[in-house]
């Protein structure tokens, strides 16, 4: 579908075949046979992955802590409906990524770089690397907080995160990488279990769906909550990841419907599990929940243990470990896709490290740097974790604008380009995210410099 600068080869000449092609061809052969045989569930099983991983990967450590903090400080009202609305916004953005990846078979970074110029491509990759590095530090903090509940230290957290990254590299197959991470991501449901264990009042949870007004606090607090909650739901890495993974998986325009199912299922699961963390946190509302605010969730598992029993604390702690671990894998992968795409070298999990050295080096390297940061004595880890989502929100509109441009590019997308309704929603999402992020950044800056009181 994508128009290329160089003339294409004659249609009957087979292109040279690489091992990456062969591995992808195998995956596609299974899709082909499932489709021919009318095996709908098998087809769905084969085609789900990137969407669920992007959505559940974004239910990461800082995000779940942010949701739980919202619940502990303000209760369920406002946030119970707000979180699903945000994931609906995320669906709109991620569906575009999936569609562009399936139609062009190329990642976001390389398309921006080639279609709009190197400056924009490298800006996008730079934004991504900065926000990913900060977010990865927060993911290691999340694992450390979860493991600390079991008396384990930061060394174990670092080792666990890095071993997982290396473990998923083995096999030289995208399919294997995806299924391992997908299996781990389903444990994000631990937050739902934690919510059940705190025995919430069902009427209060469903009653909160009527979108109660914001519970109070200063204007800056409202902006911080909006910016960090948006940053907990839609981020630049998700854009790079889902488009790159959809292309790596070998999705084609025929798979777009299933790609939408995949993305929608991911959004629904992520919203349910996110609300689970909120409900679990809300159990602390009447037990001094305000005290949670200062330490960014470091004491959530123990606080839950005191309020709702050891099982709730244990499940929440395990959930934080899972959320951090899965996010380390998906966020590192998005960095690897971006780096290798922008440099123009092999970028696929359907290769071995010796065939795609930069791709795997970037994947492991950024995780290693983040891991080293949390080993620095006295590093302001929790402040970093709190600000990671806000910075992602501030930089997100630029990534989204290029996403919408790519999805509207008829030279690339043909009849799969955005409809008018998708554009209206997409532009509204960009405006909302941009206004919230900018308002928080400007208001906080004016407060910090004492321009306003």
């Amino acid at each position: 579908m994508a128009s290329t600068a160089a003339p294409t080869a004659p249609i009957l000449t087979p292109p040279p075949l690489t091992d990456e092609d062969a591995a992808r061809s195998f995956d596609r052969s299974r899709v082909h046979h499932a489709r021919l045989g009318g095996r709908r569930w098998s087809l769905l099983w084969l085609l789900v992955g990137p969407g669920i991983l992007a959505m559940l990967g974004e239910n990461d450590g800082p995000s779940m802590i942010a949701y739980a903090s919202d619940g502990a400080q303000y209760g369920l009202g406002f946030f119970v409906p707000f979180i699903p609305v945000l994931f609906a916004m995320a669906y709109v953005c991620q569906e575009m990524c999936m569609r562009v990846g399936a139609v062009t078979h190329r990642g976001y970074g390389e398309l921006v770089l080639q279609r709009y110029g190197a400056v924009w491509g490298w800006f996008a990759a730079g934004d991504l690397t900065l926000t990913n590095l900060i977010t990865l530090v927060a993911e290691f903090v999340s694992i450390r907080v979860g493991l600390a509940y079991f008396g384990l230290g930061s060394g174990v957290a670092v080792a666990l995160g890095l071993v997982l990254v290396v473990f998923t590299f083995s096999g030289g197959r995208y399919w294997r990488w995806e299924r391992i991470v997908l299996g781990m991501a389903l444990f994000n449901g631990l937050f739902l279990v934690a919510a059940i264990l705190v025995k919430p009042h069902a009427g209060a949870v469903f009653g909160a769906l009527d979108f109660a007004p914001f519970p109070g606090g200063s204007f800056n607090t409202l902006l911080l909550l909006l910016a960090s909650t948006i940053g907990a739901t839609v981020t630049p890495w998700m854009i790079f990841f889902q488009q790159g993974a959809s292309a790596d998986k070998g999705m084609t325009p025929r798979d777009i419907t299933h790609g939408r199912y995949d993305t929608a299922v991911g959004a629904v699961l992520a919203a349910i599990f996110g609300v689970g963390a909120l409900v679990a946190g809300a159990a602390l509302l009447t037990h001094g929940g305000g005290g949670i605010q200062g330490f960014a969730g470091a004491g959530f598992p123990e606080a839950l243990q005191h309020v709702a029993g050891g099982a709730a604390g244990t499940v929440f702690a395990l959930g934080l470990v899972e959320a951090g671990a899965v996010a380390i894998l998906t966020i590192s992968a998005s960095t690897a896709y971006a780096a290798a795409e922008c440099v123009g070298v092999t970028h696929s999990f359907n290769t071995f490290p010796r065939q795609a050295a930069l791709f795997y080096a970037a994947n492991f390297g950024i995780a290693l740097v983040a891991a080293l940061v949390i080993l620095i004595p006295g590093a302001p880890l929790l402040s970093i974790a709190l600000n990671a989502n806000v910075l992602a929100t501030v930089l997100l509109p630029v990534s989204l604008v290029f996403m919408v441009m790519l999805a509207n590019d008829r030279g690339l997308m043909g009849r799969f380009a955005n409809r008018r309704s998708t554009n209206v929603i997409g532009v509204s999402v960009i405006a909302f995210v941009g206004i919230c992020g900018a308002a928080y950044g400007i208001d906080s800056f004016l407060l910090a410099t004492h321009v306003i009181g």
Binding site: S3, D21, S25, F26, Q114, Y116, T346, V394, G437, S444
Partner: protein, 85 residues
């Protein structure tokens, strides 16, 4: 990974680590590539897409957004450092 049966799909055999079919086995080679769309091959995706023509207005808008994002990011980072102090 399980070893595929000898009569398995050539793509399965290659994915399991066996050498690719010899080019003189056209049927096997064809079967290997038939599951991929032509523009999915690495040889095709390695060719850059053509550059889009952006209007002057679009370029100015993109630069304005970029500068705005950098300025607000610097504000967030400054506030973060200020809070640490």
């Amino acid at each position: 990974m399980r070893a595929p049966a000898p009569d398995a799909d050539p793509a399965a055999r290659v994915a399991a680590g066996e050498p690719r079919p010899h080019p003189e086995e056209p049927a096997a080679e064809d079967e290997l590539i038939m599951h991929l769309e032509r523009d999915q091959f690495v040889a095709e995706t390695s060719r850059p897409v053509s550059r889009a023509a952006l209007t002057q207005r679009a370029v100015i808008a993109l630069w304005a957004l970029r500068v705005f994002a950098i300025v607000v990011s610097l504000m967030v980072i400054y506030t973060f450092i200020e809070q640490l102090n």
